[in-house]
Symmetry: C4
Subunit: 204 residues, 4 copies
Amino acid sequence: MEIIKHSGRQDLKETARVEAFSDGVFCVAITLLAIEIGVEVNSNETNGGLWHSLLTLWPKYLAYFISFINVLLAWIGHHSLFKQLRNTDNFVMAANGLLLMLVALVPFPTKTLGLYLHGGAFKAAVIFYTAYFVLISMAFRLLWYAASHNRSLLINSITEKQIKQITRNENLGLVFNTVITLVALINPIAGLSLSFVMWIYWMT
Amino acid sequence: MEIIKHSGRQDLKETARVEAFSDGVFCVAITLLAIEIGVEVNSNETNGGLWHSLLTLWPKYLAYFISFINVLLAWIGHHSLFKQLRNTDNFVMAANGLLLMLVALVPFPTKTLGLYLHGGAFKAAVIFYTAYFVLISMAFRLLWYAASHNRSLLINSITEKQIKQITRNENLGLVFNTVITLVALINPIAGLSLSFVMWIYWMT
Amino acid sequence: MEIIKHSGRQDLKETARVEAFSDGVFCVAITLLAIEIGVEVNSNETNGGLWHSLLTLWPKYLAYFISFINVLLAWIGHHSLFKQLRNTDNFVMAANGLLLMLVALVPFPTKTLGLYLHGGAFKAAVIFYTAYFVLISMAFRLLWYAASHNRSLLINSITEKQIKQITRNENLGLVFNTVITLVALINPIAGLSLSFVMWIYWMT
Amino acid sequence: MEIIKHSGRQDLKETARVEAFSDGVFCVAITLLAIEIGVEVNSNETNGGLWHSLLTLWPKYLAYFISFINVLLAWIGHHSLFKQLRNTDNFVMAANGLLLMLVALVPFPTKTLGLYLHGGAFKAAVIFYTAYFVLISMAFRLLWYAASHNRSLLINSITEKQIKQITRNENLGLVFNTVITLVALINPIAGLSLSFVMWIYWMT
């Protein structure tokens, strides 16, 4: 009995530490999104010149805005998913590691989007960006598969209905991001606009 | 009864994780303020030349100093606000997300201020910087609106008087930062100096 | 009795804070791996040109991938090791500090590998990278020596068999990384490929 | 009674959150020390050329090594100091903020030391670096003054003897760092070497 309780506590700690580490990666990644934005050094700049420089950075602001919300929603999704877990195995750890690897790299497609949002390579930049979030959805789907196919990893109080609900949500996320990318292949602005619709869907 | 206790604990964990994530963003953002400061690489530098280079970086030191205190005060304010919450909803999460998005980007106006504090674009740099903190005050005000308009999100022990007190504080922060920006429109040095007065007000 | 319980709690807190700090270093280091990857700024880029630029970054993606997994495995290993500790002394703190110093610097060999993986200095880059992880294995081995040679630092429930098991694991990690480096001296591609084999060994 | 217990718990949480935030700043700052180290991009590099480049980075490795240990020792010192606190006031918060502001900026003197350790501005770089740690010692001394002059902020179990012991330690740290800087004014190498002696003193 004592052993069971002890082992129970160990398990709790186990999940807690994985969650804390994942939170840390989300947190550093989301804050690092900001460091790519910067005005050019030009010490002879006039007031008007600086305002102009700040305004022409709009593609970077937009890229920052979109990525910040995407990573924040991914963090909330990660949180909801881990609330259903009471233990992890190597498969969950590997799937979670893959997800974190993609999340930590979000500053890269963000920078690419910010640099090329206004220029000749606009379409390629948007497709690259939206396709990157298809990969993230796939990693989420894999993580949930790893967690849910082994019933002993889930908390006791979860119902079959709740499991199906989460499976449906993860599938939906993957479908949504794929549709956004397909739309971006035809019309990049329509693809990005669709992201906003998806956010409102998740939030309400 | 068991369910209530369990649900109570879940709620606690919920708020705790949002607070921890927010703390992490504040913490990484405040530390990233420092990475923009650097001397030019000049391997033939003499001792006197290096001292001269280090001294001419004073606008960056000043910008770092101002931003560090501003972010630290924002963190303390965020802390005080969340101490009154026992649960979050989507509106609070969105308002908090908006606030974090602005906090994570503070290194950008800081860098702008440090680059142009001593030059022809001085006025534009100060107005941009002070106006940025008007935005942050607005996000704080929105967060408190989201938290306080739904009484069930607040802790039980909070009194109507305390709620009004915090509302007044958040309004005051917004008014103060707006006044600083308006003063900076006329005289940038006076605007920045007013910030110091505000800090002493908050601290005592 | 009261004192023992109190001291027990203090000890717990002590180890917890060292673990939390170590986790933080692992977490920031693993996220910083990503910030070196970036496309060249070229505002006249065409869609085709951007795709080409993104494809030619493959050595950086590969270096990121390898390092992310290596740091993640190191974090898991650090976790397993600290689960056996109930207290620390100055020797453990120093050995852990040395390990963290090496982990925090992993972005440096990673960047080197990414820059020279495809070029004339390929062999030197791979040897430098693999030799760096021999150093990390040595730091792990030292940390375990520091922890295990003083039985009072370990948790009560650990058995002699478990201690030997961990010692064997740490030795094995050191031998593996040394073999990889020796193979890389002859054939760098074979050396890197061997890393993948090692990952599958650790994971299963 | 309930109120006292509740308030006691709140206080505990208060200190815990300040400690966690401070730990975060230490943790990010210590990891950011590493990002300044990098080889020059030169895609035509030969194996021999890369080894040569890696070797000529020795001043950066040395600067990284020295700063990592200094920040780690500062973290341990911060930890010991906060273990004696059960509550904070505005003065402690301000003194702690000042200390964190200096700690977060350590990558700057570190980079300066790494760039000029081997060159004509060697002396200026070492004096700047060592004088920076005099500032950090002063911030520690101020923090301990803020904490100890108000007995109600300290934990109940602390003795007058322990308070004097910590006061003596903080004074000693300040004296040590001042002596190192004074020695560096005459002979920079002797000044840096003295740091190593101080580390061994702290560790044993």
